[in-house]
Symmetry: D2
Subunit: 304 residues, 4 copies
């Protein structure tokens, strides 16, 4: 199995103990499902490192169960057997499950325009092993940030998008993304609205966007200027999965920072940069550590 | 002059030094206004305790100056002379000024419905001398909170409001408020929309409302339920001056608190209670300490 | 079984679903313990509402497991049978367990001196059903806060403590506390150091103290004055279990608030009041909701 | 006069309005000093952009005045005349003053060891014009971070320090620092204790250090490990001026972040990295924008 990687707190402490895998379960709440999952892993030689389980009794039409188990598969001889057994649980309880063996890092494509702060943050955090992923390529509609990519020796591809060429360029982007076998797309202040076609290719909560406001306040463009006009005393940033409804996708993380009358629109933008990069990294970390479960328009975000 | 009162940090430290007064100035930025104000106070025997001054160069059609001077009028013989001189400055520089001698506490009327948390907070903070005001009466449209008022021996008046009786009841409320010579009206989760008539009687930034969301998100009623439906990760509260545009008045203070998937709508409400009372008190403190200057739809909030 | 009580988020949502109980497990990490607990509860008709489980690999001499299961015992016929089976698990795995059926509210005694802010907060939160407990008595070494107790019709006992009478008074306090069958003692700014004798009677993490600093900075008395002298830019408060080592007990909760050069020692005290009451309530909530597991000198605090 | 630079909020808004200068005043509180300063600037053609003034009545042996005026010297013909007049004020009122014309950026030397996070942050913020300074050189006792310096094309000098060579190496460092006419030295996790000799050469609040704890908790080395052992629920970082008393210098900025039982010592270190870089940048910004006035062992930090 793969070498130890530093994505999470437990992995780090547990360096000598081997790799970690996760089992996530989502579905209608049924008596016995928690015990069944723990028992299954246990019987196949896996130790449970940590687990979290939550039941949403306000969900309709029936209560929903969300579960995340981080386990040590060291004593496991046959992965496929566990997989088969988990599929049996799926059928028996009518739930959805996802196993991640975490023996190779997920691949992340970063899309940017001209703002560099989120890109720097992502690349520095990945380099510091705070993001458990590979970043094999950066895509932009402008040349501006090539030097950042170069610093980390990551290929940088430019697709100049115009209203006329947009769909065509997106096709080329998608081809590149698929060629690299990308797992997650991060829109790091990418100033283009993705087409329905693009979004539906990665519709399974695989595109993370950072919006420069405390959603649902200040939808759309020039959010900081809207906020300044309104005279708010806090500004926010929101990381969410991109869906067909612009700025309406499930929220993964949010944060705010204080502003005062002394702060002009430029200061909102400056303070917002600090916020955006932090919120985006926090959301991506949660995603990469398999802490997020999406249900309807909301995210359950477990602690790692 | 009045006895020492504990409203602000400087007053407290300066106990032996006598009272404090404020001079606030708002208007088009003109060279010399800052020096003129300091000089005027100085020449009349007042010592400047602290001052803050800010110029908004983004204001239109011309830059705007905002100034707050906290001064010690101990050495002042004749207030009316200072008043006259300040009025001369008003004319010379084309600004608005406001002097508060702070020798008697402002009078606050609190309007409530059924939620008690903001009312308790206001009364406890006033009792602890953290709010520099008197609260001579509490007005409600329900009997529910009479016991809270009784605890602090404050008269509690009930005006049951129905769509039919609303204007009539407001007239009676206004008569009572005027009879008590009220300076500030605090809507401490008062669940009625005030009429245009009522609002225009206290239109000079004299009505403070607490809204249970991070405005401008989730306007109107059931804000926490709206927030829960959207799946936000932070909830907020906003204190603002009430104006004719519902939930659109100048924002004085805002704050947020984290929520998670474990929090149902009831938890949003519970966590929100803690927020609302804090934000409302902070806004009222700023108002009572003469730290707020309103310009167009925004508040300049100086530190005390 | 007892009526529904509003202590926690899940209980509130689950109003119609019956009561909630918790099983907490602490001990050396053994393969199979998680599955065994879930399975046991399941086989006896209990549904798991939520659970959290964490393994501390840095503990010495061996890894330690911490687990909290919130379950619905509605379908359970015989509590004693579950108890017996859990004791079998204890022996088999060498762990400690604790079951709380939560069908009656824990009883809390509050000890105070002259500061009223923590006492008001505790009583208001309990009244608002945000603290799942009864408060049958308040003990003080001064008469000062009797009016607060009277407001909530709670008996208030005064034991004037002097160096000479201290041990004798403590005996009387302990007799009263035991007569009321108290589960938790809260030192809500009680300005006396408890004797070794008193502490050892409630040594099993049953005494919660609020210290007015960000421990371990500023141990002992006049913490805010120490902080002011040092020129800190944040002040803190710490809730911890009281142990024989003054201010050294396991920390349950901490928080901070910003201060500036404008804040004198009195402002530190004032701002600290807001902090202390919040941190104390948060710690007591975690304790009452059986979210805390103490190991050596530290607390594992699970989310409710 | 120098070109516009983007250090502060007001400068940015005021792009077309010319440069900004500051006058800072510190000394015993005397009636008339505020008016005198404003008046002086005004009479010489300077417009006051913003000002803040604070009197510390708790200072001993007499009240202390702190003042910062940000002014626009556009209409000023003769700087030396203003300088002379300000010196007259110094003598008349017995205060200390400092004028910064801000027409050239201060020069900052960054000292590092092996941790890169603070260095990246300083260089990226300087590049984004969020730090109003030049960084002409980076000094280290290790080769490790040369690639970071190279990315920004900043000279990187290595002085391998051993107990034997320490004083000698410091001499060489000081020679280099003086040759570059450095105004501020930033210890960006420089893991060496500077000698008394070095410190006294830049004793006038010119050396800023970042300490990885919430001072005064956890002095000295391995602060995060100390914090983990104590079981704290928040960790902190502190930026302060370095003085002869290790970790005892005047505090400029502090912040904290929450930790939980899930966080091992490595997670404290990881979370602390985010804190340290933010706190250090905030402190350096305040210093560079001439917002800090040091008195005894404390900093008055005005808003910009």
């Amino acid at each position: 199995m793969g070498a130890f990687r530093h994505s999470s707190s437990l992995q780090r402490v547990a360096k000598q103990l081997g790799d970690r895998a996760t089992l996530r379960v989502l579905g209608p709440d049924r008596k016995g499902i928690v015990a069944a999952c723990s028992d299954l892993l246990n019987r196949h030689g896996c130790s449970i490192v940590s687990s979290e389980h939550y039941t949403d009794y306000s969900a309709t039409p029936h209560s929903m169960l969300f579960q995340r188990i981080l386990f040590d598969p060291e004593g496991l001889r046959d992965r496929s057997e566990v997989k088969t057994k988990v599929q049996e649980l799926e059928r028996k309880f009518g739930v959805k499950t996802k196993i991640d063996w975490r023996d190779k890092s997920p691949k992340v494509a970063v899309l940017v325009s001209k703002h560099d702060h989120c890109l720097w943050e992502l690349l520095l955090r990945q380099q510091a092993k705070e993001l458990d992923c590979e970043i094999p390529l950066i895509i932009s509609n402008h040349e501006n940030l090539r030097h950042v990519a170069d610093t980390f020796q990551i290929p940088y591809y430019v697709f100049p998008v115009t209203p006329e060429t947009k769909l065509e360029q997106e096709q080329a982007q998608l081809a590149l993304i698929e060629a690299h076998d990308i797992d997650v797309i991060v829109l790091a202040r990418y100033m283009q609205v993705l087409s329905k076609h693009f979004l539906s290719r990665y519709a399974d909560s695989q595109i993370i966007n950072i919006h420069h406001s405390f959603l649902p306040a200040f939808l759309g463009g020039r959010a900081y200027h809207q906020a300044h006009d309104r005279g708010v005393k806090l500004i926010g940033a929101t990381a969410h999965y991109a869906t067909l409804d612009l700025d309406q996708g499930p929220i993964i993380a949010q944060d705010v920072v204080a502003v005062s009358h002394r702060d002009g629109p430029h200061d909102f933008v400056r303070k917002g940069r600090g916020l955006e990069r932090n919120v985006l990294v926090r959301a991506l970390q949660a995603h990469l550590d398999q802490c997020v479960l999406v249900y309807n328009t909301k995210c359950v975000v477990f602690s790692d």
